[in-house]
């Protein structure tokens, strides 16, 4: 989709037709996704569990092999890098995980945990490393007296702060937060979101923020991308998206998320065969089986991705959607 963008600045990270599959499964975890993240901005990647959000994060970090496509980091394809180049990229991109306790090595003290990336990337000398650790802990709102303590001695919120500190200690340019606030209570979630927003403002890092929770995305994202079953269905600026989501799936998501409205039931297909057949791959639109605005063409033809044309000034921001409703050739003009 970013191919069609009019952006003048080249994106920091760009995915081109990226596909990722699990071991010999029929359905792709990530299916020809095009996505881009600008320097210093936040992309919110939204989808329900199993939509392929985490697979994208894992593919970027080369934790999982991609099948095809490109991942361009400042113009260089990560997937074709040799180990030395990759090591340099890993220093620039850091991950924060969902479960803070699980992501910290249980038998290593906070100090050891924070030191490890510095040692691995051979950054600084012994003295400056200690100084860097102290400084980073201060940035995430922790005192340096935590250094000798172990992860299980902290509360969930503090653990996530430690995990963020570990990610920041190498001065990355891109932070990938994979459901980083999903397992936290709302009051702690608010504190961590606040911290991430502050950090981004102060350090100017870009953020790929993966979440299933649209309200959290609204707080933090400049751009929004919606995934469903491995495919990217919609990408636009956050303001355009939240004032008028285009894809039927996006609209359904937003309806479920806004608690003010009574829940709208999906048509009750609660029997085994349908539940199983819903898991089958179909060659057409991935959302067709649940779509409230389904047309005959949706079951026959896979939709293409389209720019939505706005008459007002927002037209400069690309708003792309993969749905027949917006395709003049196949669907009705909305």
């Amino acid at each position: 989709m970013s191919n069609s963008s009019l952006q003048t600045k080249p994106p920091m990270l760009e995915l081109q037709d990226l596909s990722v599959s699990f071991d010999r499964q029929r359905q792709l975890a990530v299916d020809r996704v095009n996505l881009s993240i600008q320097e210093g901005l936040t992309l919110g990647l939204v989808g329900s569990s199993g939509a392929g959000k985490s697979s994208i994060a894992r593919a970027i970090m080369r934790l999982h092999d991609a099948d095809s496509g490109k991942i361009l980091f400042r113009g260089e394809d990560i997937l074709r890098m040799d180990p030395r180049e990759m090591k340099a990229v890993r220093q620039r991109i850091q991950l924060v995980f969902q479960d803070p306790l699980a992501s910290l090595s249980p038998r290593r003290s906070v100090g050891q945990t924070l030191l490890e990336p510095l040692q691995h990337f051979a950054l600084g000398d012994t003295l400056s490393r200690q100084e860097k650790i102290r400084h980073t802990l201060h940035t995430v709102g922790l005192d340096h007296d935590v250094l000798r303590r172990y992860p299980h001695q902290f509360s969930a919120g503090q653990q996530q702060r430690i995990a963020i500190a570990r990610a920041l200690v190498t001065d990355p340019d891109l932070l990938i937060a994979d459901e980083a606030v999903a397992s936290l209570d709302v009051s702690i979630q608010a504190q961590i979101l606040e911290l991430i927003l502050d950090l981004q403002k102060d350090l100017g890092i870009a953020l790929l923020f993966i979440s299933h929770d649209l309200a959290v995305i609204r707080q933090i994202a400049d751009e929004v991308a919606i995934m469903y079953r491995g495919q990217l269905l919609e990408q636009s600026s956050a303001d355009a998206f939240f004032s008028g989501p285009a894809h039927p799936y996006s609209r359904a998501l937003l309806t479920f998320a806004s608690s003010a409205e009574p829940p709208r039931l999906p048509d009750g297909n609660w029997n085994l065969e349908q539940a199983r057949s819903a898991m089958e791959v179909n060659a057409s639109c991935v959302f067709a089986h649940k779509c409230a605005e389904k047309m005959p063409v949706c079951e026959q033809l896979e939709p293409r991705s389209h720019r939505i044309q706005y008459r007002d000034e927002r037209a400069m921001e690309p708003h792309c959607v993969k749905c027949h409703l917006y395709d003049e050739a196949t669907g009705n003009e909305n």
């Binding site: 970090m61 934790l63 180990p83 990759m86 090591k87 890993r90 220093q91 850091q94 991950l95 995980f97 969902q98 479960d99 306790l101 699980a102 992501s103 910290l104 090595s105 249980p106 038998r107 290593r108 490890e116 990336p117 691995h120 990337f121 172990y150 299980h152 995990a163 570990r166 190498t170």
Partner: protein, 279 residues
Amino acid sequence: MMRETWQRLKSDPYGLSGLIVVSVFFLIASCVWSGLLGQGWYEVSGTRWEGISAEHWFGTNLIGQDILQRTLFGTATAFEVGLTVTICSTLLGTVMGALSGWYNHSWLDEIILWLKGVLDAIPFYLFAAAVAFALQGSPWAMHVAMIVTFWTTTARIIRGEVIRIKQRGFIEAARAIGLPGLKTVFRHVLPNTFHLLLVQASIVFVAAINTEVILSFLGLGIQDGVSWGLMLAESSQEVLAGHFGNFLAAGTALFLLLMGFNLLADALQDALDSRRIVR
């Protein structure tokens, strides 16, 4: 973390008494090794089957050797066998288990699993006998047989734990900064299996001592020196004639040491409970 464990162990009376029993036995064994105790185990110092006396606290055996001396020396034998087997089989099991767990689903894993399956399927005493004959009566045949069979359990436990740990976030985090596999295993995986290894090692120790007794009894065990198993083998004929010295001495010593170790293993398991430390 070790301090927490020690605190819990100290507050457990059973575990503490187990530790004390094992320590006392270990002290005896050390004295034997350094030549302070049990050096007269082979001297014929009395007449056959003497009763309890000031000179022979536990009486004498068939040819008039002092049973106390032999029991003390047997302690050293037990520790020698137990420590050798425990250390070797635990190391072997850890390496094999870590390899097959870390390279889960690879050909290496398959081979190690196959080897484990085969070794587990061979009845142990037959195997020990076969090893004894294959090694032409070497005094280490028993040790080898035990090491070769005992590592499988340790490896299975470590493999399962490594696979479990591998899926956890902090391993993903280590891989995300590109930490090499071996470094990850040693720095982040194996330290988290330490509690299991400690417990398993104490279980292997018990099994080794137990097995030594049975193998010695069958004539496949200790060749030079004396062990509790040999004493029990001697006693199996004596008891029919009403001489219980060997049986009581070796049986009691064996029971106390095994009991101590079992209690210690239990207490360690509680103190190192993975759910409390590695949640």
